[in-house]
């Protein structure tokens, strides 16, 4: 009630951090997420820190290809053909995380542009773009992704493109609804009165104001994208058999699932844990940008 004045002394950033850190589950989510990110970075730049020589390939061991249960030598056991699961998961995280990020951010960028255009220009363009997204929404996303993937050929690039195509309509819808409310705000009117062009209003005023909620959405989506990505890999939608990827890793142990369940459980757990962590983190971020929960 009396907070509007003299806010300056407490910087917004500090306040945001305070809000975020008061949510313990969100902090836990962030810690796990950061662990994944750190792992991915190490794998990218200096894999030897974790004792990996080539993070781009699984290290096979055909001497003893049958899955071994967790032991002191293999903390998470091994999977067929003799792959050290812990090491493989550490390697695979980089690929999954990287591609998922690419997919979500790519989808968000395309979606944001389309959403803002549709909402701000309005009229027929809005109608057209939104019917277009409806088409994408009406097809089950997995089917759509597989269809696009087959059309483009089975490669990582085509998988990424396929998933971006599946994902952007969500962001288009979301930014459109955000834009519709921001468009009515007085500062947009003030920009118009100042003579700002449509492009300037859309990308200098509206876009930055839609970003925080979109970032939250990205963080919430990351979990499901990783899941879908791994699923596609799991069902054999993957070109190069030796690339470390969690879904593919899980599929390797599929034949042994009854005698050696850890071969599927641990890669699956890695995916689930990631999805859970980004979701928790996203919830915390949502609190940060929601002014009602900031008091």
């Amino acid at each position: 009630m009396e907070e509007r004045t003299e806010e300056g002394k407490y910087s917004n950033l500090i306040l945001s951090l305070k809000v975020f850190f008061s949510n313990r589950t969100a902090v836990a989510g962030m810690v796990i997420f950061l662990a994944y990110v750190v792992d991915a970075l190490i794998m990218q730049f200096d894999p030897r820190l974790l004792g990996v020589t080539n993070p781009n390939q699984f290290t096979y061991n055909f001497v003893n290809p049958v899955p071994q249960p967790p032991s002191s030598q293999y903390p998470l056991g091994t999977t067929y053909p003799g792959i050290n699961l812990l090491q493989a998961i550490l390697e695979a995280i980089r690929v999954d995380l990287g591609y998922s990020m690419l997919i979500v951010v790519g989808g968000a960028v395309i979606g944001a542009v389309v959403g803002i255009l549709a909402a701000y220009v309005g009229g027929y363009l809005d109608e057209l773009l939104m019917r277009f997204t409806d088409i994408f929404f009406s097809v089950p996303y997995l089917v759509l992704a597989i269809a696009v993937g087959f059309a483009l050929g089975r490669s990582f690039t085509s998988m990424v493109i396929a998933l971006i195509i599946v994902w952007w309509p969500i962001y288009a819808r979301y930014t459109r609804s955000l834009t519709l409310s921001i468009k009515e705000s007085v500062f947009v009117e003030a920009a118009k009165a100042a003579g700002a062009s449509m492009v300037r209003i859309m990308f200098k005023h509206i876009l930055p104001n839609t970003l925080p909620p979109v970032v939250v959405q990205i963080s919430l989506d990351l979990g499901s994208v990783v899941g879908v990505f791994a699923t596609l890999a799991f069902i054999g939608f993957i070109p190069n058999a030796n690339t470390p990827e969690l879904g593919y890793l899980a599929s390797l142990g599929l034949n042994y699932v009854q005698s050696a369940p850890w071969t599927v459980i641990f890669p699956g757990l890695a995916i689930t844990l990631f999805a859970l962590s980004v979701n928790l983190m996203g919830d915390g971020l949502r609190d940060v940008i929601d002014p009602r929960r900031r008091s």
């Binding site: 806010e7 500062f187 009117e189 003030a190 009165a193 100042a194 003579g195 062009s197």
Partner: protein
């Protein structure tokens, strides 16, 4: 400098059963503003004053009417006369030369440097993601008035001029208090050295002590830079402090316009009289006659016929636009309440087309009631005659126009025909 003629803004309202209706936010408003003067536009919420202001700088496109910019006084007068006499050709000629509404694209953008606006709520009128300096620079950059370092320097100077330290340039709006933000909004509005500034309730979101600071700042700028201002507000005291001329609006129509002192001290339109008398004054115990209007402002989707103010007007008379329904309601009220002893239970009041049927009452007693109550209940003045079979005939009505009451004063009320 700028003149609006028969300006209209109708907002379509999509309704279910009735189809699209039009909300007449501004209807036939004619208003001219001379260079260097401050015109106050007062009115209550829903009177269309903000819509009018936004149309003047083309933030909203009018549904009808014309806005002339930079036309000399004679041309404006000529245009008005042409409109009144229906001389379309000469009107067209003048409008082609000066029309603001025909400006497009880069021409319009150039015009934006010459007019600007200060909005009511300083909490929402500044983009939360812009630094103060960028906020102030925005009009200069958008219109190409100044660029780069020059714009920066000008923005910093402006900060100082509105009484804020230069260091504020790097802050974000949320770090400032309401008064400081409104200063920033003023700096932004003045950044392209405009000739016309529309002030939409510039102080109503602020505290009294800050309000005085902002008003004095605006006055100072006006004195120094000779800026033409249109001040839109519901606060008559603010208008009285700032304006040279005052326009009073009600339900989308202009009620009265004239020099400030005339309008505020000798209001002519009954609405203005009521409005001014309802303004609370810091004089406790002072005996004064207050006109308290009955009822609420009308629904703009179906405004009353004739004069929009007539249902609440304490001086309305037979030609103001009374309908059979309005008359019937008031008569019913009297018959059921105050004159119950005369009429009893068996009277029925039925509104017909321009007539009101009073069943079961004798015409003589109706006439008597009309005679007595006419002074208080103005709708009764509309009864032209009472026939033998107790049929009340309603007078024909007239739409009020803006009548010239004196040289510099116009009133939209049939009393001043």
């Amino acid at each position: 400098m700028i003149g609006a003629f028969n300006l209209k803004k109708y907002f379509p309202v999509r309704g279910g059963v009735v189809g699209t209706q039009y909300l007449k936010a501004v209807d036939n408003v004619t208003l001219t503003v001379r260079r260097g003067e401050v015109v106050g536009v007062v009115g209550e919420s829903g009177s269309g004053k903000s819509t009018l202001g936004r149309m003047l700088i083309r933030l909203l496109e009018p549904t009808g009417g014309e806005i002339l910019l930079d036309a000399p006084e004679e041309e404006m007068v000529k245009y008005r006369e042409a409109l009144e006499s229906g001389d379309k050709e000469s009107a067209e000629m003048i409008s082609r030369k000066y029309s603001l509404l025909r400006k497009k694209g880069s021409e319009l953008r150039k015009l934006r440097t010459r007019m600007s606006m200060v909005f009511q709520d300083p909490y929402s009128s500044l983009d939360p993601r812009f630094r103060i300096l960028d906020v102030i620079m925005e009009p200069m950059i958008s219109t190409g008035y100044l660029r780069g370092e020059e714009a920066r320097k000008k923005a910093l100077d402006l900060l100082e001029e509105v009484g804020l330290p230069r260091a504020f340039g790097n802050r974000y709006p949320h770090e400032l208090s309401g008064g400081q933000r409104q200063r920033v909004a003023i700096a932004r509005a003045l950044s392209t050295d405009p000739e016309l500034v529309i002030l939409d309730e510039p102080t109503s979101a602020l505290d009294v002590s800050v309000q005085a600071q902002i008003l004095n700042l605006l006055k100072e700028f006006r004195r120094r830079k000779n800026i033409t201002m249109v001040l839109i507000t519901h606060n008559i005291a603010v208008v009285s402090y700032m304006a040279d001329r005052v326009a009073v609006m009600y339900s989308g129509r202009l009620m009265e316009i004239g020099d400030k002192d005339d309008v505020l001290t000798r209001p002519k339109h009954p609405y203005t009289m009521a409005l001014i008398s309802s303004v609370p004054r810091p004089r406790p115990g002072e005996a004064r006659k207050r006109i308290v209007l009955k009822g609420d402002p009308p629904n703009l989707l179906s405004p009353p016929r004739g004069c929009v103010f007539h249902p609440r007007c304490p001086m309305a008379f037979h030609e103001c636009g009374w309908t059979a329904e309005e008359v019937a309601e008031d008569i019913n009220y009297l018959v059921q309440g105050k004159y119950y002893n005369v009429f009893g239970d068996n009277v029925k009041v039925i509104p017909l087309q321009d007539k009101v049927k009073v069943e079961g009452a004798n015409p003589e007693s109706i006439k008597k009631v009309l005679e007595v109550e006419r002074e208080n209940i103005r709708s009764l003045t509309a009864v032209k005659e009472v026939t033998e079979d107790s049929l009340l005939i309603i007078h024909a009505f007239q739409e009020p126009k803006l009548y010239k009451e004196s040289e510099r004063r116009s009133v939209s009320c049939l009393l001043y025909r």
